[in-house]
Structure formats: C-alpha cells, structure tokens
Amino acid sequence: MRIFQKTNFNFIRYRKIAYGFSIILLVVGMVSLAVKGLNYGIDFRGGSEVVIRFEKNVDVGQIRSVLDAAGVSGTLKQYGMDRSFLFSTVFQGDTGQLKSLVSNALNDRIQGNVHEIVRIDAVGPSIASDLKWSAVKALLASLLAILLYVGIRFEIKFATAGVIAIFHDILTVLGLFSLLGGLFAFMPLEMDQSIIAAFLTIAGYSITDTVVVYDRIRERIRGQKPSEYERIFNESMNQTLSRTVITSGTVLLSVFVLFIFAGPAIRGFAFAVFMGILIGTYSSIFVAAPLVYDWLRITKSSVHLRGSKVS
C-alpha cells in the first residue's frame, strides 16, 4: 500500500504562501497570549485542588452553593470524568483541613449521594516558581542541545532553521492553548508540568521529520551547483514526503489513543503533543527546508555538509 505515489509538488515555489500562513498562525497565537494569556495549572501558580466524585449525577450549581454556604471559597468546575468535579482554591499547607471542610459540607447538605474525594493536590507558591524555572531551563537546554547536535551533524544553517521550526511549533501550540484554554469542559488546557513534557516531546520529535528531509538533501546536494539547489530541495522533499507523513502518522495515532482513553489527567498533554506533531510535520516541509534554501540563496553560499559520505 502507498499513500503517495510519485509526487512532484513544487514546495519551494509556494514557500512564501507557507511563510505567510505560519506568520498568521504565530501572530494570532501571540495576540491571544498577550490579550487572553494562559491558563496556569496549580503546578505553576500554586494552590490546592480537590477532585470530588459523586455516586449519582449532581448539578454543579448545587455543589457550588453548598460549598459557598460552608464558607469554602474557590472555583468549582466539571472534571473530565463522569460525575466528577474539580474544586480549586488558594494554597493551603494543611490539606487535611481542606478535605474535611469540603467533605463535611457535602455530607451535610447533599444527602443520599455519596461522594468521594479521589485526589488532592497542593502546590506551595515557592515550589511553583521552582517548577516554572526548571521548565524554562529544560526547554532552553533542549533547544540548545538540538542546535548543537544538528549543527555538528549537518551545518549551522540547517540547525538554525530546524530550531526556528521547533520554536514555530511550540509557539503555535502555546498560542492554541491560550486561544482554546477554558473553552472545553473536557479539556481545560491548563499549563502544567505535563504540558512542559509535551513541549519537550514536540521539540525532540519535530526535528525528526526535519532531519529526514535534511538527510536526503545532504545525500543529493553533494557537488551540485547552487543553481541546482531549488530542484534538489524540491525532489528531496517529494522523495521523503511519504515517510515524513507516515512516521508522524503512527505517532499521531498513538497520541490520539491517549487523548481518547487516558483520562483527564493526560488529555491536555495528548492535545499538545498531537497538535505539536501535526504542526511539526508541516513545518519540517514548509518552514525548515525552505528557510535553509532561502538562506543559501541570499548568502549565495554553497553547502559544506558534514557526514555526507553515503556508501
């Protein structure tokens, strides 16, 4: 079976359209980030969260009024599982107290519908800022590592374009999180540790497709004149198109399964990785390689790729 028979798309000619599309994506994302901002989870803002599950169906409004009446201030939302709710409030060192407060109020006022507190998380403000810093450090370090590695394996122009593509992917997903955050009850899209894990996964994986294209370009560009570059770039991308799509496809398949089955704790992560890999596949064809091409064209330099010996 084959998805693509011999293709012959002129990717390089239409690259400007792709650039425009990417810029729109990024600008929309940035505007949303600036205007609407991000929904931070307790990992990054500090706070306490309680997940309450009821035996029978119950109205959110009813629980909210019960908790209000008991003097427990905080926000109550539907949680992504059946008959479950997420109550979040400011950080309390003594979660036992919070638990008994919530539990007693619900026991008193909502009778005949047993509830269970299935999860409590409390993150102090100091640890939240720790986590934020580790996240930023991990992301920057991984981008640097990729820049160095690809720079050594190929060339610094290729590495830079690859890292720009990763930035493009992560920023687009970040923009999506800002844009769609809080819109869906089953998927609140809060920024937490798992989203950082998603970003690093995207960073590590987004370059995979890019490397596949680069590898083919490296193989074919040896000893060619710069005037031939456009043809070589196009042919390389066409030749690797099916594998680029299929490798991403299998991962998308897995991540889609995670999104559907793995429950609310993983859903935000799965969404981020799914979108990231989708955009990463697009960017390795329409952003990374064309950027290298433009760079070579503008600087009028020829490529001296390392490791281009292929037996």
């Binding site: 409390a122 996240a135 798992s194 950082i196 994986y205 897995s254």
Partner: protein, 633 residues
Amino acid sequence: MKNKRFNLLLIAVVTLVALWSLWPTWRDYSFSTQLNSFSSAQDSLKYAMDHREEIDDARKKSLKLGLDLKGGMHLVMEVDQVDLFEQKAWNKDGKFTTIMQNVRAKATQSDARILDLLSAEFRNENIPLSRYFYDIRNSNQEIVGKLDKESEEALTRAKEIIRNRIDQYGVAEPVITTQGSRKIIIELPGVSDENRVRNLLKGTAKLEFRLLREPEEMLRTLDRINTYLLQNTQNSAAVTAAPPVTDSTAAASASLPVSGISSVAPASLPPGTTAPPAVGKQPSSKPLYDVISVSQYGTAYTAAHSREYVLSLLHRSDIQALLPQDSEMLLAAKPDEGNGGEKLYSIYLVRKAPELTGGVITEAKATFGSQSVQPEVMMAMNSEGTSKWARITGANIGKRIAIVLDGSVYSAPVVQSKIPNGSSVINGIGSLEEAKDLEIVLKAGALPAPVRIIEERTVGPSLGADYIRAGMLSLVWSFGAVSVFMLVYYKKAGIAADIALVLNILIVLSVLAGFNASLSLPGIAGIVLTIGMAVDANVLIYERIREELAEGKSVITAVTQGYDRAFSSILDSHVTTLSAAFLLYTYGIGPIQGFAVTLMIGTSASLFTAIVVTREIFNLLLAKNLMSDKSFG
C-alpha cells in the same frame, strides 16, 4: 557470518533477560488472582501461608506501580534553613534578627539558595559573617563552607528522622529522597489516614524541659508590655490592630496535649476566672489586657480567638526586648476550659535556656494512665539525662517546670520531689492514637530544623484503579492501531516491525521492573508514545528499501542498502528525542520523570529492536528464500 550469529545470540539473550525480569510480575499477578479466586477467606489465608515465601519474593521483584496508580501520598517538604542558621549563630543581637528577617522575606520570593541570600545580606550590611558564626578569625568563605556543610548534614539527618517516623508508623515501601539543598521528597503508597501522617511528619519534635519564672516576674513583664503598647498606640494615634476573631484552627494541629510530670499535679486554671473582655475597635487604655487576662493566682491566659494575635505579638522583636533577660513567653498547646466552657490558653514566662532537651530521651511508650482512662506517654532517659533530671528536680522543689514540645507548653507541673530514676510522663492526651504518634516522634528524635509541607499530591485508590484501566486501554488500542497499520501498509515486513514492537514494550517494562522503578500513568503515556515512535525507524528503513527496489535492485541488495542508508536519519532522530527526554528527566519532577524514563528506555530500545531485530528476521527469511520484492507492500 560470525557477526550474524552474535546478533542472533544478542537478541535471544535480551529476550530471555526481559522475560526473566518480568517473571516475578507475572507470578505476583497470578498469585493475587489465585488468592482472590478462593471463596472463603480461610482458604485464601491458608494458601497465602503455604506459599508465603514465593508470594513475598514475587511481590518484591515485581513491577511496582506508581503512587498515582496505587493510591497514596506524594509530599515535598522543605527544611527551614533560616531557622537552622539562626540556631548556629551566637551572640545574636537586634541587627542579626533584622538581617535574618530580611533573608526570610527574600527566601519566600526567590528560589535562590538560602546561604547565598544570607551572605549577600551580610555583604550589603558590610558585616563579616564571623561576627555571628563560628570563629572570629574565619573568613566569610570559610564560614559559608561550614554552614553549607551544616545544612547538608541537617538535610540528611532530617531525612533519616522522617524515615524513622514513617517506619515506626508502618508504611509499606516508602520512598524518601532529598532534592537540592533543602527539599525532602516522600512517597507513601497506600496510606489511608493522610491527616495522621501529615501531623506525624511536620512536627519538629523538639522536646524541652524549661523552668518557669516566678509569677510576679511574669505579671511585671505583662505590665511592661501593656505600657509599651499603650505608648505605641498613643504615639501613632492609630487604631490598634484588633485581634483576628477567627476560630484559631491552627491550634488543632498542635494539640497533642501533655500535662504533669509523674506524681505532680498539673496546674489547671483556677476556678472563678472569666474570659477576657471583648475587644472594641477603639484604642484601649490597656491594649494587652484586652486580650490577656490574669487570674488571682498569678497565672495569665488568653481566649482561643485571640491566640493568633497574642502569638504574633510575642514574636515581635520590640516586644521580646521587654522580657526579662534569658526569658521567653510561650503559650499552651492545648486550651483549658474556663467556667463558661470557653477555650482558654495559658501563658507562661519560661527561661530561654532549657534545663534538659529531648535528646536524653531513650524510650517512650504510649499507655493508659494508672488512675485514669486517659492515655499518656511514659519516657525514660539515658544515664546522663537521669542524673541531670535528678539534680534539676531536686534543686527546684516547689517550682514549676514546663514541658515544651515545638515551642508550645504542654504542661507546667509543680515539682514536688526529686525524681531519681529519670522517668517522666506526659499525660492528659486526648486519644491513644495521639499518644502513639507522640511516642513515635519522641523515639525518632527531633528534626534539626522545622520542616514545612510545600507540595502534596494525594490520589485515592479508586481513582488509581481508574487510571490503571485508562492506561491499559490506551496501551492496547495504541498497540493495536499501530501494529495493524504496519501490517496493512507494509505486509510481510510489517510482521517483523510488529515483533520488534512487542520486544520493545517487553524491554521497557522489564527495565522498569529490573531497576525497581515504578510505573505511573505518565509512564504509561510514555510507553504509548514509544509505540508510535518505535516503528518510525522501520518506516524509514522500509521506505528506503522500497526506493531501492523501485530502482530495480535485488531484494538482498535493497535490504542491505535500505538499512545502511536509513541509519543516519534514524540515529539523528533518536538522539534528538533522547536528549529532549533526558533533559526532561533532569529538570522534571516526580510524575514527569516517569514519562521521561519510559520514553528514554523505549527510544533507546527501539534502536536495537527496530534495526537489529528486524534485520535478523529479514536475514533469516532471505536465507530461506521467503522474501520477494512484494514483501515490503
């Protein structure tokens, strides 16, 4: 040929080791299904007794489930280094106190090392550290080095003490580790009474026996504070800070009530006392006596609702300066009941230097008292403590000695006779459970500095069961979808990729089991993601082989060149994924690390399974002439 044999051998060994490492997990699983299958509890117990060793062994070596899957508590505690350094300092004065307050304020806002904040603060003030720490001849650098070592030791000691407490409380397989310079991470699977554990962990358990100052001295001090406050309010002409009229729930956490030493009667509140008058918003002529009352017997107390306010007052350095030399004012840990049933906390003026500390306690035992049904904790001291205790009690007959735990007075009985045998008793405890917890913390010893819970994640067992179900579903569906796709798209070659995928999952699980790491929900997510990524290498190889075949090469040449030429992109993509996962592991915390670990193992294993294993399968098939150019779909 030699190389080929080596590869086959390697595959066989890896497969066998993986299966061997997962064998106990299988045994553990079959034992528990066996145990659940018995209709009566008796049969089940008998079976468990008969196979006890095997069951224990299997359980010990089986793949562990993470806290989120099994249910349990994940706690991050922070050692209060500011407090630790304060303890290490000597000839502390007002200047020192203000510096330390600055450091404390800064520490809550940044995550810089406390020691760096401290030395920066001293540098700003242009005071050498040696004025307060260690020897005057030491340079700042030497002192920073010593303090650094000190805090490292404190962290290790705190970890050991917390481990002792948890071991004595009895939690199966706790994991206690330190992180950075001041954090302790505690993982407690399957804990049912979280509240009790929390209380058990957070107390410093610093036990002190302190002499009370004479009652007249305390009354004079209170007068002095009152006058001072009065002047202050008049000077600023501001409204005095009204005490918070909230019910102080903080008291509940510290209410391990203690009172009385051996036969000595506890000093309870005399009858005829009344609650302090209600506090008005107007500046009062006696600001202190609005919140503190004095009985005719010379004891002072405060009502429960003004406890927090009084405590904050006593922490103020300007108020502390008004106390007699080497004295400290402390509050009772547990309220006494006044006439009207209101809760009243006694106030004590005690000597700053303890007569004796909890370090001499060798044995603590929670029992029921002889006269009452109230539980109590009996303590025994080592020989040094015994002789000191005899001397102290002998020299202070008729005086009161306060038993102070973590800065709160549990009781302050009058010494009636010399106690020669080193025994002492804490009685009047609310429940046997409280007494048991007190026994545990006294036995485990005091923490070198206070600890705080700064992060807590608790998952109930029912949610854990849900997570396991969700994780298994994801694994099965992801494996099914990806393997079917490979079969449909690449036909015969897809079979080889699927075999490699099975081996890959086996390797991930067996490495986790072998290294005693646990599998968490994010870990399962990592495996699911690995399933999607592991076949990538095969896709790259197969696509290349298809290309070579299209150029009209023979199957054997196409396979060889396909593997060779695809290798460089496979390597590059694996290295980038691995380095991202590694950084995630390095900087990530707790649950995220589980994801990073499975992703790392899975990705590295796929280099072996997707390249070596499938290659060997093709070699075998080629040798038997079972491959054609149709085999790659």
